[in-house]
């Protein structure tokens, strides 16, 4: 099966450089300090953030000068076409570590000494690029919790069709049928890479085009999320009459 037809369309009708539809909502829950819901195509993720709060576990080992980041990645048992037995397995333990690495890069941990920040992400529906969507959702939840960050952490996954054309934001079908893929998490303004992973061995010639495409995808996601966040705070602020004369008084 061709992932990219001669007319340049992918199996779901996108072109090689088009991302899936993005929609998100911040502050979906009241009990956690911050939460967000993010859809990228059919991949749907919930993220919740608790903290910063006092360190509860391993208090003796905790560093004195910065915050401890605690992450958990899990997939709902109903998130795939076949029911998953357990929400967390070896694979999610690995992704938890990656998630922690990416988020730690951006959070200004030195502002929160002797405290802990918990980030929980749950994949509700999975259709490719799960990790990337989780990173993006976690960023939104952290912003919602009001935790200080250097900048956004945005992630995107991209792969290669027919051995030559880079595909951005791949779906589950493209993940399984395509060749090796690259997942990258970046800080979009400074362009720093927070996390980089390839799914399998990839030829050196392919790394650059695929990585470039993934980073371009990240910047696009950044713009989209940024707009939504601004709109969200305008609405919240609107309720409190931010920016109006009444508020100033």
């Amino acid at each position: 099966m061709d992932l990219l037809s001669r007319q340049g369309l992918r199996t779901d009708g996108r072109r090689s450089d088009e991302l899936r539809r993005i929609s998100c909502k911040m502050g979906v829950f009241n009990q956690p300090d911050g939460s967000a819901y993010l859809e990228q195509g059919n991949t749907k993720v919930l993220a919740a953030v608790y903290g910063p709060h006092e360190i509860r576990v391993n208090r003796s080992k905790a560093p004195n000068d910065c915050a401890v980041i605690n992450c958990q990645y899990s997939m709902a048992t109903f998130s795939r076409s076949e029911r998953k037995r357990r929400p967390r397995d070896n694979k999610s333990a690995e992704l938890t570590v990656h998630l922690k690495q990416a988020m730690t890069t951006a959070i200004k941990t030195d502002l929160y000494p002797k405290s802990q920040i918990d980030i929980f992400v749950e994949v509700l529906q999975s259709d490719g690029g799960n990790y990337s969507v989780c990173v993006n959702a976690a960023t939104l939840a952290l912003i919602d919790a009001g935790i200080a960050m250097e900048e956004f952490v945005i992630s995107c996954t991209s792969s290669l069709a027919n051995g030559e054309v880079p595909l951005v934001d791949i779906s589950h079908l493209e993940e399984t049928l395509g060749g090796p893929s690259i997942t990258v998490a970046i800080l979009p303004i400074s362009g720093k890479i927070a996390m980089l992973e390839t799914s399998q061995r990839m030829h050196i010639n392919h790394v650059e085009p695929v990585l470039t495409e993934a980073m371009r995808g990240c910047r696009y996601i950044y713009d989209t999320l940024n707009k939504t966040i601004k709109k969200h705070y305008e609405e919240i602020g609107g309720a409190l009459n931010w920016g109006t004369e009444e508020y100033n008084i």
Binding site: R6, L9, G13, R21, G163, H203
Partner: protein
């Protein structure tokens, strides 16, 4: 940009049997153009192949129009679509996907059409267009859904062009046509459309499928086929068997079905049991009860005219040796392709229905319709089969194209190339664009990363007339008493970079094919016979293997490097031999050649001691008339010492390179292996030899080599060669493979007795060598890897293609030799020495070494002929006896050779016995005789040993 998104949901069953619900996004776009130059509405209309003013010379359609094809039209009428007159065609994505799903070969041809810009084909991606996408309704079958999508798109197109240009839906299905007309879409069948064009050739190319209707009234001849569902059930329950059908070579009412995993083939006999299976088809077979089992007849039946014979067949006594017998109940996959052949002579004037006789004997005759009989009657044609209804004796087909006049060299060569599927079209412009300029020379920048070997005394040794020289040698004494030996191979990969059109073309072609008098190059001539060819006195790029050898030919040190060389001389085997033998010559080249020759002898001895086989196959060369290009004489290829010298060093280089690339790339090194033949292959040979008191041991290649060496008979000097020829036929084919797909033990090259082997030395004419060059270049860090080179699956897929092409090309080469032998024997009668290869029930198989020719000498009478003598066949001893004369395998005989041209399709060499003399059977020596072939036919001799009946007049 993307407009809407919907989702596609479907149910799928996994391998484990779980039912899954799969949901996928489906984006609908507004930036898909209609593809017409006349359109100003579509904003992002990228490609616009459809002409602004499509021509209107169709009587049936007065307006400007484009064609929109239905799936069934593409599937059945692809031959007509390939005709250049049909232009401005819209192919819907729906149709493209359906075609891809149903027939891969048609899909490939359709893609070629779409890629051809002069034909103005446009692919409209209707499934992602916001206005033409429709959702499947509950309960709608996939077929109805596709039809509806096609109609929606046709309607959209007509609305889109607003009547300025019509979009004509071409469909052959009556029901869907009616529906389309109902919805107001201009619709017709391709037959109706072509009728308006008044083009005879195009009309002939139309598929015959629809003419079946008129014959429906007739009594069915064949039993019906089961439905696919019934077949599926039958195979699952074990009542039916699935296998590949192979038609018998000489009896058109007999065939075998090879079922995987079953030891014995299933025999099929009689028209009704064959039930319209064509050679190569995958069929479903039902076994007959054991009481009805029978044995293969050894009769020759080519047509229904021979049916009396068939009746005799039924009367024969129940045979002892019964085979499992069955009947075809359904055809699972048709392996129909296009066939070469001629039209059978017709007696009725102005008839439009004719019989076509394929060149391949295993294919039945095909009924076609044409109004061009007079033009086509003496031409070689290509025909495609459309259908085989129950009421018709023969399958129905249609004319595809003509290759040229029967008997003309070009047409006959074309037949050989097509029948063996050898790609031989001219190189495309894209391929030629990859070539360097004709004036290319070695420049300073080429020396980067290359050794300068221009001062070495390098020379090449090749057959006379060779223009694609891919190897050269040198040998030089070193101060420490050792020698430096170099094998220099043309650096083809310098010009053929991976992934370029020229590379893809070469990998498709896989090998250069040498027909007699014609060479079909793997790479364009500029490279093969000029820039890559290591010509004498010219600077060329090379890939060199350089060894330091002790005087005992032990390798002390080996290295591989890219280099620049300047061959001092390009010699033939004969010239090189003269230089070696002439002790007065003491040039550096002569000394080098002598030393190389010494080394070669040592290497050969070492190789033979290890158990390498010396096999024989009669190879001949034609001396051609330079103007008419007709063969003047035949000579058996002479092997000189220098042949063996070059061969030894090539083998050495190949083995050394194989070791090197395998150690560096254990997963995807391209290697060549020659599996050990199963002992059963040797059974008949051992038996034949045992009758003459010679014992053959075939346990290992070494044992076989030893016993072949010992098998010498003083009274029959050719005996040993005969044994070797027969032993060669017991071997399996050597194949290319990627090293990661086999275990190390399986790498063995049986014939060469080498544990590992590859092809490195002929990159100009073999693609495998190109791959090996690239791997070796990476392994010596001369070049970087490419993704394709490191993909085990891709390498293995290429190897599979190479194996198929290589096999087909050797068949084509043999067919070409046979063709020229026939041309050579036109109007000639020769008496020649021959040897008996096999003794059969009714014939002797005879090898004539002078022509490398194998023929059948029939011992039993042909139909309608009387024969005074009878032969007694002894199956145990494999002999035929007539009075005092006994024929055994390997016995020498003298036979008269002539050409039987009575059947234009199958010209054959006819053998008649001269010696030993058997009264009333053998014929006198014809050395002085001047009779021509035609005359002998008018007065048939008591025994005519043709293997086929004369061509009969057709019944029309």
């Amino acid at each position: 940009m993307v407009m809407k998104v919907t989702s596609k949901t479907f149910i799928r069953k996994t391998k484990r049997g779980n039912i899954l619900k799969i949901v996928r996004e489906h984006y609908l776009r507004d930036d898909i153009g209609c593809g017409s130059l006349a359109c100003k509405k579509c904003k992002r209309n990228g490609e616009k192949p459809l002409e602004k003013n499509p021509s209107v010379d169709n009587d049936g359609v007065p307006d400007k129009h484009y064609l929109l094809l239905d799936t069934n039209v593409v599937l059945h009428q692809i031959d007509a679509l390939e005709d250049d007159t049909l232009k401005n065609v819209i192919i819907l994505q729906t149709v493209l996907e359906e075609v891809k799903h149903l027939s891969h070969s048609v899909y490939k041809r359709l893609m070629d059409l779409i890629g051809n810009h002069s034909r103005c084909y446009y692919v409209f991606v209707n499934v992602y267009h916001k206005d033409t996408y429709v959702e499947r309704v509950r309960g709608e079958s996939p077929n109805d859904y596709n039809d509806r999508m096609i109609r929606v798109s046709a309607l959209w197109y007509n609305k889109h062009f607003d009547g300025k240009i019509k979009v004509l839906l071409i469909s052959s299905d009556e029901a869907s046509k009616a529906k389309a007309i109902n919805e107001g879409i201009p619709t017709m069948s391709l037959e109706q459309y072509v009728k308006g064009l008044n083009n005879v050739t195009l009309t002939d190319k139309l598929s015959n499928r629809n003419s079946v209707v008129e014959e429906i009234s007739k009594e069915p001849i064949f039993p019906p086929h089961l439905t696919p569902a019934q077949i599926h059930m039958g195979i699952k329950s074990g009542k039916l068997l699935q296998g590949t059908f192979f038609a018998s070579n000489d009896n058109f009412l007999e065939g075998n079905v090879f079922v995987e995993g079953q030891e014995k083939n299933i025999l099929l006999q009689g028209r009704e049991h064959l039930n319209r299976a064509i050679n190569g088809d995958i069929v479903a077979v039902q076994m007959l009860p054991e009481s009805e089992w029978s044995a293969p007849t050894n009769l020759v039946i080519a047509d229904y005219d021979d049916l009396e014979l068939e009746n005799n067949l039924n009367n024969t006594v129940q045979p002892k040796d019964k085979h499992p017998t069955g009947r075809v109940v359904g055809i699972i996959r048709k392996k129909w392709r296009q066939y070469c052949g001629i039209i059978q002579h017709s007696v009725v004037e102005n008839a439009t229905r004719h019989l076509f006789v394929p060149a391949e004997k295993k294919i039945p005759k095909i009924r076609i319709e044409t109004r061009q009989y007079d033009k086509l009657k003496d031409q070689r044609l290509i025909i495609a089969i459309d259908t085989w209804p129950r009421t018709s004796r023969y399958p129905l087909g249609h004319f595809v194209r003509s290759l040229g006049k029967i008997g003309e060299r070009e047409a006959e060569n074309e037949v050989i190339l097509l029948e063996h599927d050898v790609p031989h079209s001219k190189f495309s412009d894209q391929v030629l664009a990859c070539l360097p300029k004709e004036t290319w020379t070695v420049t300073d920048s080429d020396f980067f990363g290359r050794e300068d070997f221009r001062d070495l005394d390098i020379c090449s040794v090749d057959p006379p007339g060779c223009t694609d020289i891919d190897d050269a040698l040198h040998c030089m004494a070193l101060k420490n008493g050792n020698f430096q030996v170099g094998v220099h191979i043309a650096d083809v990969t310098h010009f053929i970079k991976p992934g370029t059109p020229i590379d893809l073309e070469a990998s498709q072609r896989a090998t250069t094919v040498y027909l007699t008098g014609r060479r079909i190059d793997m790479v364009p001539g500029l490279l093969s016979s000029n820039l890559c060819s290591l010509r004498g006195g010219e600077e060329r790029l090379a890939f060199s293997c350089v060894w330091e050898m002790t005087p005992n030919a032990e390798i002390v040190n080996s290295s591989f490097t890219k280099s620049v060389i300047k061959s001092k001389a390009a010699m033939t085997y004969e010239q090189a031999q003269l230089i070696i033998d002439d002790q007065n010559q003491n040039t550096a080249i002569a000394i080098g050649l002598r030393q190389l020759n010494k080394f070669a002898k040592i290497l050969k001895k070492r190789r033979l001691d290890a158990g390498a086989l010396v096999l024989a196959s009669p190879e001949i060369r034609f001396l051609m008339d330079s103007e008419t290009r007709d063969p003047l004489d035949v000579e058996v290829k002479q092997l000189k010492e220098t042949n063996s010298m070059v061969e030894e060093f090539m083998l050495l280089a190949n083995i050394e390179v194989a070791k090197k690339i395998y150690s560096d790339f254990p997963e995807f090194a391209v290697l060549r292996r020659h599996p050990k033949p199963p002992p059963s292959n040797f059974e008949s040979l051992i038996k034949a030899a045992a009758h003459l008191g010679v014992e053959l041991n075939v346990d290992t290649s070494k044992d076989l080599a030893n016993s072949l060496d010992k098998a010498v008979k003083l009274d029959n000097p050719f005996f040993n060669t005969m044994l070797r020829i027969l032993a060669t036929r017991c071997m399996l084919q050597a194949v290319y493979f990627a090293s990661g797909t086999k275990t190390y033990d399986e790498f063995m090259h049986y014939g060469l007795a080498a544990p590992i082997y590859t092809h490195f030395t002929s990159p100009i004419r073999r693609y495998a060598d190109v791959l090996v060059h690239r791997l070796l270049a990476v392994s010596i860090a001369a070049e970087n890897t490419t993704p394709e080179l490191l993909d085990k699956r891709k390498i293995d897929a290429i190897c599979q293609n190479l194996n198929v092409r290589t096999r087909m090309s050797s068949y084509a080469e043999r067919a070409s030799v046979a063709l020229n032998t026939h041309i050579f024997f036109r109007g000639k009668i020769r008496d020649e020495e021959g040897y008996i290869l096999y003794v059969k029930k009714n014939a002797l198989q005879i090898l004539i070494p002078k022509y490398g020719l194998e023929g059948t000498l029939f011992l039993s009478p042909r139909k309608g002929q009387l024969q005074m003598v009878t032969f007694t066949y002894n199956e145990e001893e494999q002999t035929q006896r007539c009075g005092q004369v006994v024929f055994r395998t390997f016995d020498p005989v003298t036979v008269q050779l002539s050409l039987d041209s009575s059947n234009v399709q199958h010209e054959r060499i006819v053998l008649k016995l001269v010696k030993p003399e058997i009264p009333n059977f053998s014929i006198p020596s014809s050395i002085a005789s001047t009779t021509t072939v035609q005359q002998t036919q008018k007065n048939p001799k008591p025994c005519d040993s043709s293997s086929e009946p004369l061509c009969k007049k057709p019944k029309v």
